[in-house]
């Protein structure tokens, strides 16, 4: 950050070069140590035999059995992992979609309209982040509605648990959209619905992407929710498959790490996809620096 910005406007100087490439190179070196070493460890563990993996050492396996472990993990419990992928992806997509729309509406209203209701809503949003969900009473509610142990029930639960977080983000970012836009839209004769869905929501794209990415990861990686609210084996989710390889008396760390690796792939693909969206949002507004 020490390079004067005046230099940055000129096409190609030593400083600009230094800033772009040296800083980048340093950052990449640091990232290799800080972020890639743990990742490599996961890969190594996933290609070991059970004995080597049980020792948990940062060492190459005597003989890699990556694909054998891969096949074994996929086949466990009649291809449970594949069913789990489908369920988890459906659960994630639908619940995050509900979450985004519902909480964008609340965040927008909270920021735009000052009323006596605001402190109450704000408190509930905060309470939603602080208070831990109560398992047994929630099951009672789901049973009363007839949606316990069903995917729709689980979707509604995940959507609810993510509301507070998303509302908080939306509330913060609606503030960056000038109110003049609202006025202009009204002058054009737009109603409340068109203003929100046609004007505001598209402008919230960077936040929407952020909420989608963060909440999709949270839902996808949620373990306790499905454990209690979706307990039947008809609807396995990916996090529960981790338990296939954890037992007190037998260590199967090689398969456990392979499983960890495999269930990290869908969110990674999603992130890479949405990362482009963030970049797109940036270029449409021209890049700083």
């Amino acid at each position: 950050m020490s390079a004067p910005t005046a230099a940055a406007r000129r096409p190609f100087t030593v400083r600009r070069f230094a800033r772009k490439y040296l800083l980048g190179a340093v950052a990449i070196l640091v990232s290799i140590v800080v972020f890639l070493v743990p990742f490599v460890f996961v890969l190594l563990q996933a290609s070991k035999n059970p004995r080597e993996a049980g020792l948990m050492q940062f060492a190459l396996p005597a003989q890699s059995q990556f694909w054998r472990n891969f096949a074994e993990v996929i086949q466990t419990n009649n291809f449970q992992l594949l069913a789990a992928f489908i369920n988890s992806i459906a659960l994630t997509v639908v619940s995050v979609a509900i979450m985004v729309v519902f909480s964008a509406m609340v965040g927008y209203l909270l920021q735009r309209r000052r009323s006596r209701l605001n402190p109450v809503v704000n408190f509930f949003v905060l309470a939603g982040l602080i208070a831990p969900p109560a398992v047994v009473p929630t099951i009672w509610v789901l049973q009363r509605l007839g949606i316990f142990d069903t995917l729709p029930g689980m979707i509604l639960i995940e959507a609810t648990f993510g509301l507070s977080f998303a509302i908080l983000l939306f509330r913060a970012f609606v503030a960056t959209i000038p109110r003049e836009l609202d006025e202009a839209a009204i002058i054009d004769g737009a109603g409340a619905m068109r203003l929100f869905f046609g004007v505001i929501l598209p402008l919230l794209r960077p936040v929407i992407v952020t909420v989608i990415v963060v909440q999709a990861v949270a839902v996808f990686n949620d373990f306790t929710g499905p454990l209690y609210f979706l307990p039947g084996s008809d609807n396995p989710t990916v996090q529960l498959t981790l338990y296939n390889f954890q037992s007190q008396s037998v260590s199967q760390n090689n398969l456990l790490f392979m499983n960890i690796l495999l269930i990290t792939i869908p969110p990674l693909i999603m992130y890479i996809f949405f990362n482009r969206q963030i970049v797109a949002g940036m270029t449409s507004g021209a890049v700083k620096g």
Binding site: M1, S2, A6, A8, R19, L23, A27, S31, V34, F35, P38, F41, V42, M56, F102, M105, V106, Y108, L109, R112, R113, R114, N122, F123, F124, L129, I130, A131, P132, P133, A134, P137, V141, L142, L156, L163, I167, L168, F173, A175, T176, E180, I186, A192, F196, P206, V207, V214, N221, L242, Q246, F257, I260, L268, I272, N275, I278, M282, V287, K288
Partner: protein, 310 residues
């Protein structure tokens, strides 16, 4: 709601800045209250109703099969939990350390990753990667990497003739070790939120500052920092609440140990829950809820008040 017409009762509009002067619906019609309803129904049905009704169980001895009303007995017993003071201190240390680090590192990384730096796509992916990995995996991985005798970290330190700390097995270091891993795992989210905040800043501000010949530091101080404040408020609130309530990584790495040295209130409660003390753990949750709320309400008020001043 739709009866409010533009131009009526100026007093009512006084605290709503820049009221539209024209238009059919006026401010009320523009921002209809029913926008609260879809989220509100979900929240009340699946969160508020179960959660607040469960607070009743804090007053009972509850085995899930039957319950017996015992008044405040659970609260008395909760405050007698061994090493509870240590747990409270640890909670605050953990919450503030992780939250502060996520704010500072997240902002720095976001600044770096929104400039046209070499390898930006790779860096963005790699910073966010830890967020994607399940907590169980992160805990196991770092236990192995930080193993005092066989771990790669201490092997490198040993080769460099540096001291080799016991990390999560050293009672004085265990909590900070877990906090460090928590920061590693969570900084990606803070970075992402900051990035969204920086991207949302209209480009004209930077142009204007540059035309004035402001230094990079000046641009950061007078343009980026104030305009990224909503994002910062969000990161602070989320990471502080997360830090004060968090226990899953602590559980995955140390189980609150060695001894009780890395126990936080949330992990104490979790242990009681695991032991089947459902009433007692609910009482603990009520206490934690009150403590965290007592910290967060003023924090939120401070942060959002500034936001309103913008």
């Amino acid at each position: 709601m739709t009866t409010a017409v533009a131009g009526v009762e100026p007093a009512r509009h006084a605290n709503a800045p820049r009221t539209p002067r024209k238009g059919r619906g006026g401010i009320r019609g523009l921002y209809p209250s029913w926008f609260y309803i879809p989220a509100g129904v979900l929240y009340l049905l699946f969160f508020a109703l179960p959660t607040f009704s469960s607070f009743y169980f804090a007053l009972t001895r509850w085995t899930l099969f039957d319950q017996q009303f015992i008044g405040l007995g659970n609260f008395v017993q909760f405050f007698q939990t061994p090493a509870l003071t240590q747990g409270f201190i640890n909670t605050f240390i953990y919450g503030f350390v992780t939250s502060a680090a996520k704010v500072v590192l997240g902002l720095a990384l976001a600044l770096l990753l929104t400039t046209s730096i070499f390898g930006r796509g790779y860096l963005r992916a790699v910073v966010f990667f830890p967020v994607l990995v399940s907590t169980v995996g992160v805990g196991l991985t770092f236990k192995a990497l930080l193993d005092p005798f066989h771990g790669v970290v201490n092997s490198v330190l040993g080769a460099l003739h540096l001291p080799q700390p016991g990390w999560y097995t050293d009672p004085h270091l265990a909590l900070l070790t877990v906090a460090g891993v928590d920061i590693w795992k969570g900084v990606g989210i803070a970075t992402l939120i900051f990035m969204a905040g920086i991207v949302a800043i209209p480009q004209e501000y930077f142009e204007a500052a540059r035309v004035d010949g402001a230094s990079a530091w000046k641009v950061f101080r007078s343009v980026t920092l104030p305009l990224v404040r909503p994002a910062m408020a969000t990161v602070i609130i989320l990471s502080l609440i997360g830090g004060l309530r968090s226990f899953d990584l602590i559980w995955a790495m140390t189980n609150g140990g060695p001894g009780f040295s890395s126990d936080v209130i949330a992990s104490v409660i979790y242990k009681q829950y695991q032991a089947g003390f459902f009433g007692l753990s609910t009482a603990g949750n009520v206490i934690l809820f009150i403590v965290v709320t007592a910290i967060m309400v003023p924090v939120q008020w401070l942060l959002t008040r500034r936001e309103a001043e913008l």
